[in-house]
């Protein structure tokens, strides 16, 4: 077991502390009565978590694909389940993304959430624990527990603080994800019965017969394709995004969707390499469909949130495309694109939340012509919109470029088709920007007395300090990754090449037929 692991060298269990600090905080939240105190307490807990997660970046060993900061405890010997956590170059980035996004989620809800604030902070902290838990688990049972446990707080987040159709959206989200993950459970148990372990690196190292690989690949892919979401399974996403409160949308876009991509990289590719090769064309096709259809649907939306939600489908299409091109640039681009999407789309949702608080509408036509009244706001909006369609100099440019390069290297057609998606994203984002900053197409300007959003003129005030800080943090990351992506790429470097090695080995070696699922009844 040790050959995959580097044990935690800190004097304290850093990963467990980062994971469970929010949970402990959630427990204390139950005893706080004052809303004001609650806000600061929630912010404090998430900020401390962010600070505590920094050593994961500074002390990360770049030269090894092994899992680092590992902790092992016996937990459930009857089924050989250990509490085992650790991060590699792929998951550490997602953990850091989570810990950085969460304080912003509380900041952007400062005045947005008006009722049941205590429960809100409680749910947000529960979310943080389960999301970090998903990324650090090195045991499939632990992974599944965090994966499922996340459903309940996210469901509550949409269902309690959501918009008018929250009931429909929340249950759709819950059922879609649950139905996807039940097959995940079956394949986790099946893998255990075949190999006798739940330990992820060992499961990757095991050789399975082709048909067995196909079964587990399909079960895993269903779960992750729903989460990410891929084209025909994406319908829960716009509903959930539109109805969720700002913080919910941010969490959903920035972190939850990433779990799908992470799952592909952690489970599908290394455990079922032959099946991955076999299904590659189909998955690339579906990714292209996601990119193009997502972009096309985004073009027609009048609701800002819906527009961004559909754009997410397109962006995540780039992620899956990068993953299933199965070369170094593609996978690196995909991981980078996951981080970028987390930053940029999270920021865009915060922007929507800010404007919604002021005009109480998410329709583009009610929020047009803001350029004169809210210069700060439109500046940020412009930065994030540019980033969203991968304008050079912003973060998404690097990720999308890597994926496109990899596509052109492998299949020229795929490259050309995904260019269409990139163009579409420029089109819908520029349309959004044009309408929101300048007068809308009918020529109405913000000072027009007959404008439906009469509230416009007197309720609109520019960003306050809190909002500027929230967006400035994200802006910093947009440009950092945009102009100097090397640190991020370096972190994932050895893990990605190790992953590719695993796939290459897996394809070469023919699995012994004896493993062909010993005795299948029914």
């Amino acid at each position: 077991m040790e050959q995959y692991l580097i044990f935690n060298k800190f004097s304290y269990p850093i990963l467990s502390v980062v994971t469970f600090l929010p949970l402990a905080g959630a427990f204390f939240v139950l005893f706080i009565k004052n809303d004001r105190v609650l806000k600061y307490f929630g912010l404090l807990i998430t900020l401390i978590t962010t600070l505590l997660s920094l050593p994961l970046y500074t002390n990360f060993d770049l030269n090894t694909p092994k899992y680092q900061f590992v902790e092992i405890h016996k937990w459930f010997p009857f089924l050989n389940v250990d509490y085992i956590v650790g991060v590699d170059g792929i998951s550490v980035l997602l953990v850091l993304l989570t810990t950085f996004i969460m304080p912003l989620c509380i900041l952007c809800s400062w005045t947005y959430i008006k009722e049941r604030f205590k429960e809100f902070i409680f749910v947000i902290l529960l979310m943080e624990t389960s999301m970090i838990g998903v990324f650090i688990s090195l045991n499939t049972v632990l992974f599944f527990i965090f994966w499922e446990a996340m459903l309940v707080p996210m469901y509550l987040l949409i269902a309690v603080w959501g918009g008018p159709r929250k009931d429909y959206a929340s249950i759709k989200f819950f059922l879609y994800t649950l139905l996807g993950s039940v097959f995940l459970l079956v394949s986790i148990v099946a893998l255990y019965v075949t190999t006798g372990t739940f330990f992820i690196p060992e499961l990757m190292n095991h050789k399975y017969s082709f048909s067995y690989q196909m079964w587990i690949f399909m079960a895993f892919t269903l779960a992750f394709a729903i989460k990410i979401p891929m084209f025909p399974l994406h319908t829960w996403l716009p509903a959930a995004h539109v109805e969720a409160p700002t913080a919910g949308s941010v969490i959903l876009a920035s972190i939850l969707l990433k779990m799908g991509g992470y799952g592909f990289l952690r489970f599908c590719l290394p455990m079922a390499p032959q099946a991955t090769m076999f299904c590659m064309p189909a998955l690339i096709f579906v990714s292209l469909l996601s990119i193009i259809i997502g972009g096309y649907l985004a073009l027609g939306q009048n609701d800002i949130k819906k527009l961004i939600a559909y754009s997410s489908v397109g962006h995540m299409g780039f992620v899956t495309l990068g993953i299933f091109l199965l070369n170094s640039q593609g996978i690196k681009g995909a991981i980078l694109q996951m981080i970028n999407h987390g930053i940029t789309t999270g920021a865009l949702f915060i922007c929507v939340g800010i404007i919604y608080e002021r005009t109480h509408s998410r329709e583009i036509k009610n929020n047009s012509a803001l350029g004169m009244i809210m210069p700060w706001y439109v500046t940020f909006l412009a930065i994030f919109s540019l980033s969203s369609f991968a304008f050079p100099g912003t973060n998404s440019f690097v990720g999308e470029l890597l994926v496109l390069v990899s596509a052109f290297m492998k299949y020229k057609v795929v490259g050309f088709l995904s260019i269409i998606g990139a163009i579409l994203s420029a089109a819908y984002m520029l349309r959004l920007l044009q309408k929101m900053i300048w007068a809308d197409s009918t020529g109405h300007a913000h000072h027009d007395e007959h404008h439906e959003g009469d509230a416009h003129a007197h309720h609109l005030f520019d960003l306050n300090a809190r909002e500027i800080v929230t967006l400035a943090v994200l802006t910093f990351f947009v440009f950092w990754i945009g102009l100097y992506p090397t640190p991020v790429l370096k972190i994932m470097d050895s893990s990605v090449s190790h992953l590719l090695e695993q796939i290459a080995n897996g394809i070469k070696e023919v699995a012994p037929q004896s493993l062909h699922a010993a005795n299948i009844n029914f």
């Binding site: 459930f76 459970l185 148990v189 099946a190 299948i520």
Partner: protein
């Protein structure tokens, strides 16, 4: 004969007699419930103390071993929780309250005898003792709260009598073919007989029918929704949990007779399990009465438990014991809420849950945890139980059945979620907040805590179950 071996049963006999004599006078409700809690706690303590006992009684027809003692502990704890949950007895006719406790304890006496019986006639007698007491209890409901208790009582008797008849008939086959009624003897001959003789297979299936009835498995499940709906809330919380635990104990004992090989019996039980899940879950989707919904959900859960039993491996039996314990706790969490939401013991529908979050945050939390547990969401006991059951079945190669079970779990999430939604997001009701007594809050907290704690740290329970299973076969 050593008296100490028989101690838990004696305590329950004492409880039965106590309530018999009390019923002759005109006792106060408060006095009744306090003595019931006291006596059932005593029964719990005694069964825990006698856990390590081993021995045979009554001409080897009655076996005290870790297996039976584990079930005695689970069932006495169940009795204590049911009695504690239903304090005030707001759904039971005032003049029948002493009798209610009398029959309740008599039924538990029958059930714990069942877990120790290793001889077919003893099994039958214990089964009958536990059933007869329940036949009487069901119509005890207050007349003004419901009009269907008589119908429920009649249905329970008719179904019960028919299934006992079938069981007895099956036993006659088994006896005729093997010339013995002792399980230890049967264990030696049945596995071989099953390979050659079809009659023994028919006999075994018929014999199991009585327990399928108790567990409310398809096709013996028709009574469940009506009886749940018709009986008083406190009675339902009993019927929904304890007899099922007894049935699981007996099913494990009897199914282990057929050996570990997969045979026709396994396939019949597998079919029954899958159909139960599907019928239960699909019917539960459209229910409006919460108790009816829980009835269908219990039919589905009986199907899940069967996964472990027909798998027939150790881990399967362990999983069933673990799961039925979890089922007891999670179901009682739901009934706890039903009992307290209902003002005067009337039935509870989805609309009564509306605004529950405002009326009592604690009750809605209990409901949420109970429902999420039943749906199998981690980190609850329901999730860990399901993982154990699925592992057991997959180890035996039942991939297809596990996939069906898992799809069913997905379907069931819908109606459990519907309950939670009703509690948290229903239109805000103008009705007054529900005041919970301090002792009720303690009970709720204990149930919630154990659902999560045993879910996260299952090892203790599993060790005990493992010990129990190791003793099941001589």
């Amino acid at each position: 004969m050593q008296i100490s071996l028989f101690l838990p049963e004696l305590i329950l006999c004492l409880m039965v007699l106590f309530f018999f004599f009390v019923s002759l006078g005109k006792p106060k409700t408060k006095f009744l419930e306090n003595s019931a809690i006291l006596l059932s706690s005593l029964a719990v303590i005694v069964s825990v103390i006698t856990f390590k006992n081993e021995g045979m009684l009554f001409f080897d027809a009655y076996r005290i071993d870790a297996f039976s003692q584990v079930f005695k502990i689970i069932m006495t704890v169940g009795l204590l929780l049911v009695v504690y949950l239903g304090n005030n007895l707001k759904g039971i006719e005032l003049e029948l309250q002493a009798e209610y406790y009398f029959f309740l304890s008599l039924s538990v006496l029958g059930l714990i005898c069942m877990s120790s019986s290793v001889e077919l006639l003893t099994i039958l007698i214990s089964l009958e003792v536990s059933s007869f007491a329940l036949y009487v209890i069901i119509p005890f409901r207050k007349k003004q709260t419901s009009r269907s208790q008589m119908e429920a009582g009649i249905k329970y008797i008719l179904f019960g009598a028919a299934s006992t008849g079938i069981t007895l008939y099956g036993m006659s086959y088994v006896f005729g073919l093997t010339h013995t009624t002792y399980i230890t003897e049967l264990y030696k001959v049945i596995p071989a007989l099953l390979k050659t003789n079809t009659l023994i297979f028919i006999g075994m299936i018929m014999m199991l029918c009585g327990f399928f009835y108790k567990l409310a498995l398809f096709p013996m499940h028709f009574w469940a929704p009506d009886v749940y709906e018709g009986a008083a809330n406190e009675t339902t919380s009993f019927i929904a949990t304890l007899p099922k635990i007894g049935a699981v104990a007996l099913l494990i004992r009897l199914v282990s007779l057929s050996g570990i090989d997969i045979n026709q019996l396994t396939w019949i039980m597998a079919a029954i399990a899958v159909i139960s899940m599907t019928v239960g879950n699909l019917s539960a989707l459209v229910q409006n009465d919460i108790k009816r919904l829980l009835a269908y959900s219990s039919i589905a859960h009986a199907g899940y438990v069967m996964l472990g039993i027909f798998s027939g491996n150790d881990i399967g039996y362990i999983a069933s014991i673990y799961y039925i314990l979890g089922y007891l706790l999670m179901n009682l969490a739901c009934f706890f809420v039903v009992y307290h939401v209902s003002n005067e013991g009337e039935n509870v529908t989805f609309s009564s849950f509306a605004g529950l979050y405002k009326r009592s945050p604690f009750l809605s939390l209990t409901l949420a945890i109970g429902a999420f547990g039943l749906a199998g969401i981690p980190p609850t006991i329901g999730f860990t139980g399901k993982i154990l059951l699925f592992t057991a079945a997959i180890k035996k190669g039942f991939y297809g059945i596990v996939v069906l079970a898992v799809i069913n779990a997905g379907i069931s999430a819908f109606y459990y979620l519907k309950m939670v939604r009703a509690a948290y997001f229903g239109v805000d009701d103008a009705s007054s907040p529900i005041k919970l007594h301090f002792s009720a809050k303690i009970l709720g907290t204990i149930v919630i805590a154990t659902i999560i704690l045993f879910g996260v740290l299952p090892e203790r329970i599993i060790e005990v179950a493992k010990l129990a299973i190791s003793k099941i076969i001589l």
